[in-house]
């Protein structure tokens, strides 16, 4: 382990804990640096979810990631939700806990989505105040994640990287830095991902997410399915080269593969992380360029005619079944043995 970031240790490279892998993990106890759970899947009274979590906690470090806080919504976060979350924190004792820069509900209706916030002074003020309270209440380092977005608001007053960086600093919280989301949003909105990486407070990045996605031509959907593509690894390499050894996690929530394939993706990320740390050292010694060359990024920014073919095959139409934040929940229909 290397130095702690905002008190959060470098846990290495982990994977998301998902229902189809429970049996394999509990039977074989494979070597994994750490698991990330979706908090909401375990904010229940008992049964299989709690049983499986307790068995995993016997062997592994576990951190928590949430999808339902909706910190920027028109109403204050649900007190009952926070109390349940706190009980889970007490059980899991995660080194940190994260959710998203987003909102989820309004008028008493929960849309169960990570809806983008406009990048405004008003939104900063609201999220900062709530993030401070939540971090104090939970008693654990709190971090918020940049989301994939499919729309831009006319009311936005600043770029996304300024918005999230200012909130993190003013609220004294961490950043969950999802580099796949940077790629998705850069593609969808035509900005330079390198500018995003350069302009956030690197010392506040406590974790990185890597994932696959689906390109439907006109836009990319953050499905968390498939392998991490090379341009996303390029952004990852640059993030590590600028920020240092940040714990990293592979998210795979749709068309979930065999556990061995998931671990292989984590090993690939581990190798790239090592290379990037060497790059960081070479840059510090003046032996490497500080500017990466990403032809794909120029194509995104210029929105040239070839940008839809950047990743080869595109998928026309919609994401069937709806994308699910954090993968399948464990229910009577989907339960592990």
């Amino acid at each position: 382990m290397t130095e702690a970031r905002l008190g959060c240790p470098d846990l290495g490279v982990g994977v998301g804990l998902r229902v189809p892998h429970y049996r394999h993990i509990l039977d074989h106890r494979p070597a994994v640096d750490f698991f990330e759970i979706i908090s909401e899947n375990f904010m229940v009274d008992g049964g299989k979810p709690i049983y499986h979590l307790e068995r995993v906690l016997e062997t592994y470090r576990v951190i928590q990631h949430g999808v339902s806080l909706g910190i920027g919504g028109p109403e204050e976060p649900d007190t009952a939700y926070l109390e349940r979350l706190k009980r889970l924190v007490d059980k899991v004792q995660p080194a940190w806990l994260s959710d998203h820069f987003c909102w989820c509900s309004a008028d008493g209706v929960n849309l169960h989505d990570l809806l983008p916030l406009p990048y405004t002074e008003e939104a900063i003020e609201i999220v900062v105040e709530r993030a401070k309270k939540i971090q104090d209440f939970l008693g654990v380092r709190f971090a918020l994640e940049n989301t994939s977005t499919y729309l831009n608001y006319t009311s936005s007053e600043m770029p996304e990287w300024e918005f999230i960086g200012r909130i993190a600093e003013q609220a004294d919280i961490g950043l969950m830095f999802d580099v796949n989301n940077i790629y998705v949003s850069a593609y969808n909105h035509g900005f330079d991902p390198l500018e995003f990486v350069r302009n956030v407070p690197h010392e506040r990045i406590v974790q990185i997410h890597l994932a696959g996605h689906m390109n439907v031509g006109t836009h990319i959907i953050d499905t968390h399915s498939g392998h991490v593509i090379d341009p996303v690894y390029d952004i990852y390499r640059e993030t590590i080269a600028q920020a240092g050894a940040v714990p990293t996690l592979i998210e795979w929530d749709d068309d979930i593969p065999e556990f061995s394939l998931l671990v292989a993706e984590a090993e690939k990320a581990r190798d790239i992380r090592s290379d990037a740390l060497e790059l960081k050292a070479r840059r510090a010694a003046g032996k490497a360029s500080a500017t990466p060359d990403w032809p794909w990024a120029r194509a995104i920014e210029e929105r040239g005619p070839a940008d839809a073919q950047l990743e080869g095959e595109t998928h026309a139409g919609t994401v069937q079944g709806g994308w699910k934040q954090g993968g399948p929940r464990e229910s009577e229909s989907t339960a592990a043995e």
């Binding site: 008992g46 299989k48 339902s68 169960h112 809806l115 006109t218 929105r303």
Partner: protein, 271 residues
């Protein structure tokens, strides 16, 4: 109301619209005022991405929790049912687990639904399974404690049922029908009406099961669930199932052994 809240109230309304947003001129104009769009997607098309996913996500979550109900009524009626359900019962919980918590009352209100009583029974069954799946755990019955209870104390003893147990009286054999539908018998025939007393429970291995019991045993379990001590519970069971008075009298000892073994009884509270 601040600008942010105003924007969010608009989004929450628009994303629950059933029809494609671009078909609505008013919403298309509003979207142009609030969203930038880009060279590939108009503002209203950007909002449409989220609207479409709202419906797909929630209909697939309901399908996951109600495989029996959807199997009984078929795809066309199922789509109409969930569209009406989500329109009249907007998701109001942070967890999708609670999404279907008002499906039974909704099915009861759908006069157009074929096999309606069967559907009501199926909805009640499937919501019970959802509740049981993650209900509170309870330690198993301690045989040493049972052995130490004085004979006289049994008269007033409170029998504690497992929190992961539900009692359901149905007019159709829906538990068996659901099992067959889930095993892929898409053409499973709609059964004739046949009332059943179902005990739904989570086993010690945390799997969900059902058992069919007679009227006497069911009435006794209901009385115990309602918190009656043993003797008044037996009296009420006989009163409610007089034709099974003898079965209650001679069967209670054996039932208790069996219910303890199955994990239906988790404690005996001696006052």
């Amino acid at each position: 109301m601040g600008e942010l809240a105003d924007l969010q109230h608009w989004m929450a309304r628009v994303l629950r619209t059933r029809r494609a947003l671009a078909k609505d001129e008013h919403i298309t104009r509003e979207a142009t005022e609030r969203l930038t769009g880009n060279d590939r997607l108009r503002p209203v098309e950007q909002a449409e991405i989220y609207r479409e996913q709202f419906w797909l996500r929630h209909t697939s979550a309901l399908l996951e929790d109600y495989p029996g109900l959807s199997g009984v009524i078929g795809q066309g009626d199922w789509e109409r049912l969930v569209e009406e359900y989500l329109t009249s019962h907007a998701p109001d919980s942070w967890t999708l687990r609670d999404l279907g918590n008002r499906m039974t009352e909704h099915v009861e209100s759908c006069a157009w639904l074929p096999h309606r009583q069967l559907c009501i029974d199926m909805a009640r069954l499937e919501w019970s399974y959802t509740e049981l799946f993650d209900a509170r755990d309870a330690p198993p019955l301690d045989p040493n404690k049972l052995g130490s209870i004085p004979e006289a104390a049994w008269e007033t003893a409170l029998i504690v049922l497992n929190p992961a147990l539900r009692l359901l009286r149905t007019e159709y054999p829906v538990a068996e029908l659901r099992r067959r539908l889930r095993e892929g018998e898409a053409s499973a025939l709609i059964p004739d009406a046949q009332s059943q007393n179902l005990v739904l429970f989570r086993s010690r291995k945390r799997s969900l099961h059902y058992d069919v019991v007679g009227d006497g045993a069911f009435a006794l379990l209901e009385a115990l669930r309602d918190g009656l001590p043993l003797v008044p519970a037996c009296e009420r069971a006989v009163e409610r199932a007089p034709s099974e008075a003898k079965a209650v009298e001679v069967g209670v000892g054996q039932w208790f052994q069996e219910w303890g073994r199955l994990g239906w009884i988790v404690d005996v509270d001696v006052k």
